[in-house]
């Protein structure tokens, strides 16, 4: 009897204690994985122009992941097809068939070289959009990504005018400015941006620009790089390899 009572008491204390212990341990473990420290990162992207096959999966994935309106006037990322003709003329088309439905068809013998160029927000280190936003709704995070606070944005569109890359649009649903965030909601969970994740040729490389051993660092070590419109001193964090001089 004594022993049974002792065991009962032990069970009554140990069971809730054990459960509590497990819960505490789990929540601590969760806190450790979600304990994202922005100060330890600084993100950038590399794009290998010669690897892009213009399949457009990145554009699709971006629209799905980020609720970007489906119409072909709103893009966080898009892909341009460049054709340099024999006479030097440059023909640029968006690979989105809705936009380029009436695009010129260029015969095989007419062209000199052709390639695809994925475009997105360059997450400038010296961002003109952040400079001009009258209410500070567009800002740079500690880890170097330019975000828009849609609850503060007044929809004046000054940032859209200030972006040299046409990377911003006004979301017709929210009536606020919108742009690529490098899929920040994924990045803080240690996931890759959607466009990088789905690229079948690994033309897009995402990583920490300060890291010494990331794929991005390897990309930067192995390639000659260029950024878009360097003369504007926006200091883009998206770098291109094999970028043709005709690309704007």
């Amino acid at each position: 009897m004594e022993r049974r009572r002792f065991l009962n008491k032990l069970f009554a204390v140990a069971l809730p204690g054990g459960v509590l212990g497990i819960v505490l341990q789990r929540s601590r473990a969760r806190a450790e994985t979600s304990g994202y420290d922005a100060s330890k990162h600084y993100y950038g992207m590399g794009i290998q122009v010669d690897k892009c096959i213009g399949c457009g999966r990145c554009v699709e994935a971006c629209k799905d992941e980020n609720n970007v309106p489906r119409e072909p006037f709103f893009f966080r990322t898009w892909v341009e097809r460049y054709v340099i003709k024999g006479n030097g003329e440059v023909v640029i088309q968006n690979i989105d068939k809705t936009i380029s439905a009436t695009a010129e068809v260029i015969g095989e013998r007419d062209f000199l070289r052709s390639f695809f160029v994925p475009k997105l927000c360059n997450q400038c280190d010296n961002p003109p959009c952040v400079q001009v936003c009258p209410v500070g709704a567009t800002f740079k995070t500690e880890d170097g990504i330019i975000l828009v606070d849609e609850k503060r944005c007044i929809g004046c569109r000054y940032c859209i005018q200030a972006c040299p890359y046409g990377a911003r649009y006004l979301n017709p649903t929210t009536q606020t400015a919108d742009k690529c965030t490098f899929c920040y909601h994924r990045v803080v969970k240690d996931l890759l941006p959607a466009c990088v994740e789905v690229c079948p040729t690994q033309a897009r490389i995402f990583g920490d620009v300060r890291s010494t051993a990331s794929p991005l660092t390897r990309f930067k070590r192995m390639n000659k790089l260029h950024v878009l419109k360097p003369y504007l001193n926006t200091e883009p964090k998206v770098a291109y390899s094999e970028l043709d001089g005709e690309v704007r």
């Binding site: 072909p72 640029i92 936003c133 009258p134 209410v135 929809g155 005018q161 890359y165 046409g166």
Partner: protein, 405 residues
């Protein structure tokens, strides 16, 4: 989603030439953003005319001093309206005042506007009119008596000493007012001129060109109002006043035209990468609004008319007619200038490889009817202001005396 809006974008898509970035199909700053710099320009110009009268004590133009001040106020009260209507979230506009981002030229709007409205215009008008409003309140019956009593803030002192203070304060405000007027419109020019991404806007000359075109449009507007209101109230147009204002206008047009030529020549001579697409745009999308309306009708023709008036010594009636035609043409030209800056700056792609189109709607917030309404509204405000602050009537007791200001 907004179906008609999307349908319109599909329509515009067919008219795009060359290559534009996909997010560039929508023209983001529409006609309402054209109206905004046009209205602030009129404010700055009308105020600078009033200041010239005060600072240089030009006798001939004293008659339009009060009209200029009231015109500036009427237009300043309406100027933020097109901006507000244009916002995606007008209900958050107060954020510009409460949480301004100090690196943004646009965020300075709140400060520049409040300074100009409260410190410069309202104060100057109050001190200019204080004596007369007190005297009117004594002579009148309610409700005008009450209105005037409230406007005087219940001050009742018309002693020579208090009037001397009024005069000194007005002089002081005018001196602060001129740089403030320069600031108001120079700042609007800076909003565009500081956008390095856009070669059509990005120019150090932009604030100065804006400023001089503002002076031109403001003086032209006051001349127009003077020529319309005077016969309506049964008065006679003072030709000395009209000639003097027109000579100011003439010099302002010459400076403005020279600056615009300088900008044009500078762009052509530098011949940067953007020159090809900009030339294509000027010769196609902007040909009518820039070459025909802004330059030929709005600048060259009025200049020729004013030169003609000076050289040929035309008689009074013909002179009035030519002045009238000139100021209307100038208004048209300056509106076209604003259009060409704002809309022109968005007609070409930042890829420099293509041109887009802008089609104004008839109805809707960003439509033609709304625009006309916004352009008419300042005149309604001015009519009310002139009712409360008559520009050419003095209190009966002092009718024979020159106004204090």
């Amino acid at each position: 989603m907004n179906g008609p809006f999307i349908d319109r974008l599909y329509d515009l898509l067919k008219q795009v030439t060359g290559y534009i970035y996909p997010n560039e199909i929508e023209v983001h700053w529409s006609i309402l953003v054209v109206v905004y710099p046009y209205l602030t320009g009129l404010v700055a110009g009308a105020f600078i005319l009033a200041s010239l009268v005060k600072v240089f004590n030009v006798k001939e133009v004293q008659g339009v001093y009060r009209l200029s001040l009231l015109t500036a106020l009427a237009f300043l009260l309406i100027a933020p309206l097109p901006l507000l209507l244009h916002l995606g979230h007008p209900e958050r506009a107060y954020e510009i005042f409460l949480n301004p981002n100090f690196t943004s030229a646009m965020a300075m709007f709140g400060f520049v506007y409040a300074w100009y409205l409260m410190v410069v215009l309202v104060l100057e008008i109050w001190f200019t009119y204080r004596r007369d409003v007190i005297l009117w309140a004594r002579e009148e019956k309610p409700p005008m008596r009450w209105i005037h009593r409230v406007i005087t803030l219940f001050s009742n002192d018309v002693s020579e000493r208090s009037l001397e203070v009024d005069r000194k304060v007005v002089k002081g405000i005018t001196i602060i007012g001129i740089p403030s007027a320069f600031l108001l419109h120079g700042y609007v020019g800076f909003i565009f001129g500081s956008i390095k991404a856009n070669p059509w806007w990005s120019s150090v000359l932009m604030p100065i060109v804006f400023l001089f075109s503002a002076i031109v449009s403001g003086i032209a507007l006051v001349i127009l109002l003077y020529m319309v209101i005077t016969p309506l109230r049964g008065g006679k147009i003072d030709m000395a006043c009209l000639d003097k204002m027109s000579s100011y206008l003439f010099y302002a047009v010459i400076v403005d035209f020279s600056l615009e030529c300088l900008d044009f020549i500078h762009r052509l001579y530098q011949s940067e990468e953007s020159i090809k697409i900009l030339s294509e745009m000027v010769m196609s999308k902007l040909f009518i609004s820039l070459v025909i309306i802004q330059v030929l009708l709005g600048m060259v023709l009025p200049l020729a008319l004013m030169v003609g008036i000076r050289l040929l010594r035309v008689n009074e009636e013909l002179r009035k007619l030519l002045y009238f035609v000139s100021v209307i043409l100038i208004q048209l030209g300056i509106f076209a200038t604003r259009w060409n800056v704002v809309i022109g700056g968005q007609m070409f792609s930042k890829s420099f490889k293509g041109l887009t189109v802008y089609k104004m709607e008839l109805t809707g917030i960003e439509g033609l009817l709304m625009t006309l309404g916004l352009l008419m509204l300042p005149f309604v405000v001015l009519a009310i202001l002139l009712k409360i602050f008559p520009a050419w009537e003095w209190p009966k007791k002092h009718a024979a005396v020159e106004p204090a200001m």
